[in-house]
């Protein structure tokens, strides 16, 4: 409970991510754990099964760096910003080699994490009736409805070996607080054997305990707390810095040329030590452009009489 779990990014990835593991990197448009992915690339992890609802640029980078042999996901583009060409090359022309893909819908992925977190073999949902997705993915199954006619589709539990998430803040024991879009981070953390939490700020336990409803991932499922300021770039942190839309649009061109992508990885990942280096290389003008306004939440009272 009061155990100190703060580690450097290097140490956290070294200790908890091994070749061949199933690794979930969650964060739905918001709080995407880029700096953790970059450390995975630097440490040249191999043969990972990468789980992410929306692969996003982070997946294109991990795949291009040769870390990933299988992708479990529910969307294969980068929001509005265009294609992820590394993924497309792997799938469309098997260049440089094939990538195994296991595909769900968004609620299918959320439900898989939910089942995994809940110790259940499956979770039921209303999707897939009449879709071709079950033909492609035999893990989409049905069970009989014991309360009426017909059947109900179910998805199997997903239990990653490691889940890595990025959050606004945590205390040293791992109580993790987030606000804004919460994605499937709580489910993915509870579903995993190990959880690494990367944060913008490590705060005193008193800060967490002043607002316990804000704790999305409690310390009891957290194995490492890593401080990585601005480590979610080019995604965003509500109240911290905004999404780098310019970079998202650039990525289509970068990822379209394998050589340019390799050079990008060289310049922005391999040649840098950590996310502090990365933030510095981005430069003050970029950070000024991404700076956010002040929109305070207001205060509520948790007082009791005794």
């Amino acid at each position: 409970m009061s155990h100190d779990k703060v580690l450097s990014m290097t140490e956290a990835i070294r200790r908890f991510v091994s070749d061949g593991m199933t690794v979930a990197l969650e964060g739905f448009t918001h709080l995407i754990p880029y700096s953790a992915a970059h450390e995975i690339i630097r440490q040249q992890k191999r043969d990972l099964t990468l789980c992410r609802m929306t692969p996003d640029i982070i997946s294109d980078q991990l795949i291009a760096a040769g870390c990933v042999s299988k992708l479990v996901a529910s969307f294969f583009a980068s929001g509005s910003a265009g294609s992820l060409y590394e993924i497309r090359r792997r799938v469309e022309s098997l260049v440089p080699e094939a990538l195994e893909v296991e595909e769900y819908s968004h609620y299918g992925m959320v439900s898989r994490y939910h089942a995994g977190a809940s110790g259940m073999p499956f979770a039921p949902l209303r999707s897939y009736s009449g879709s071709d997705m079950p033909d492609l993915n035999p893990l989409l199954k049905v069970v009989d409805n014991p309360y009426g006619e017909g059947t109900v589709y179910v998805v199997p539990a997903l239990n990653p070996d490691v889940t890595i998430i990025h959050a606004q803040r945590a205390d040293r024991s791992g109580n993790t607080q987030m606000w804004g879009v919460l994605g499937a981070q709580q489910e993915a953390a509870y579903a995993a054997t190990r959880t690494i939490v990367v944060v913008e700020e490590i705060v005193d336990g008193a800060v967490v305990r002043a607002d316990p409803n804000r704790t999305i991932v409690p310390a009891h499922v957290v194995d490492a707390v890593v401080l990585s300021r601005r480590g979610a770039h080019p995604s965003y942190v509500q109240g911290g810095y905004d999404r780098d839309g310019e970079f998202y649009r650039e990525w289509t061109a970068i990822s379209h040329e394998p050589e340019r992508l390799r050079q990008w990885l060289q310049d922005w990942v391999y040649d840098l030590k950590d996310s502090d280096d990365y933030a510095e290389k981005l430069g003050p003008e970029k950070w000024a452009a991404l700076a956010v306004s002040d929109r305070p939440s207001g205060v509520v009272n948790y007082g009791s009489s005794r």
Partner: protein, 264 residues
């Protein structure tokens, strides 16, 4: 840009602007809209500024009743979170809001649509070795299964995008779901309205087929028939689509998509 344009007139709408304007008009009277990325973002924004100021925007990121101060570039942007009335977990959003039947209109795009409004957003060619890997499912199957009705915006209208048979069905119509004999039925009617560069198609009920109800200015019914991969049903009283107002075009260009992210 953003300043009042007093004497606007004679804007010529691009195809994209026309589509978005038609979609926005179709949102009149709808309460709760599930807004996707891309042209739907523009359509709901335009609707909110014109025919339906009270429309509630719901995003699959969990944001309900967003009041964005500028155009979101993704369905989970900081600008839709700040000032929203609620940000729910994805479990609550997909489970309770969507599966619970609280969405009146879901917006979807697609690479292919069939006669009954089934959609392909996954693959062109054989799914096991595709010619083009499309973005895939996302939340589209959930929107299709659970929204009371679905609006589809198609950027193209040709045999490739309106085929006799889909290369792959990502998000099925009630017709297809019912035929499969598996899983729970749709909560709504599936696709109700399809807006294309040539015209507007509608389905009056869950098991009906798409029917051409309007052609855009300068487009003939025969052209739309010829561009469609099946024997297209045509309404007896096909109209010419009402063109977007100058104000709608102005709003789109000068206030909504000022960076021309989607109006490309």
């Amino acid at each position: 840009m953003g300043q009042p344009v007093a004497e606007v007139s004679g804007y010529t709408a691009t195809s994209t602007e026309l589509i978005v304007s038609v979609a926005a008009r179709a949102l009149a009277g709808k309460r709760r809209v599930f807004a996707g990325v891309g042209l739907p973002t523009l359509a709901v924004d335009l609707a909110q500024r014109t025919v339906n100021p009270d429309v509630e925007l719901v995003y699959e990121s969990g944001v309900c009743a967003a009041h964005p101060t500028s155009m979101p570039e993704s369905i989970g942007d900081a600008v839709i979170v700040a000032g929203a009335e609620a940000v729910l977990s994805m479990q609550a959003l997909f489970g309770y809001v969507l599966q619970g039947g609280h969405i009146d209109v879901g917006f979807l795009g697609a690479a292919q649509i069939d006669r009954f409004g089934s959609l392909n957003t996954s693959f062109i060619g054989d799914a096991r070795s595709p010619r083009v890997r499309l973005p895939g499912a996302g939340g589209a199957p959930e929107i299709m299964m659970n929204a009371a009705e679905v609006f589809v915006i198609m950027r193209r209208h040709d045999h490739g995008s309106f085929p006799a048979e889909l290369d792959f069905c990502t998000s099925p119509s009630p017709v297809r779901a019912c035929a499969s004999g598996l899983g729970l039925p749709h909560r709504g009617m599936g696709v109700s309205t399809v807006i294309t560069p040539l015209g507007t198609l509608e389905r009056p009920s869950a098991f009906a087929e798409l029917e051409l109800i309007s052609v855009h200015e300068g487009v003939s019914v025969d052209e739309v028939r010829a561009a469609t991969g099946w024997d297209l049903k045509v309404a007896d009283d096909v109209r010419v689509t009402m063109p977007p107002s100058d104000e709608s075009i102005r709003l789109l260009r000068e206030e909504i998509d000022t960076v021309r992210l989607y109006l490309r």
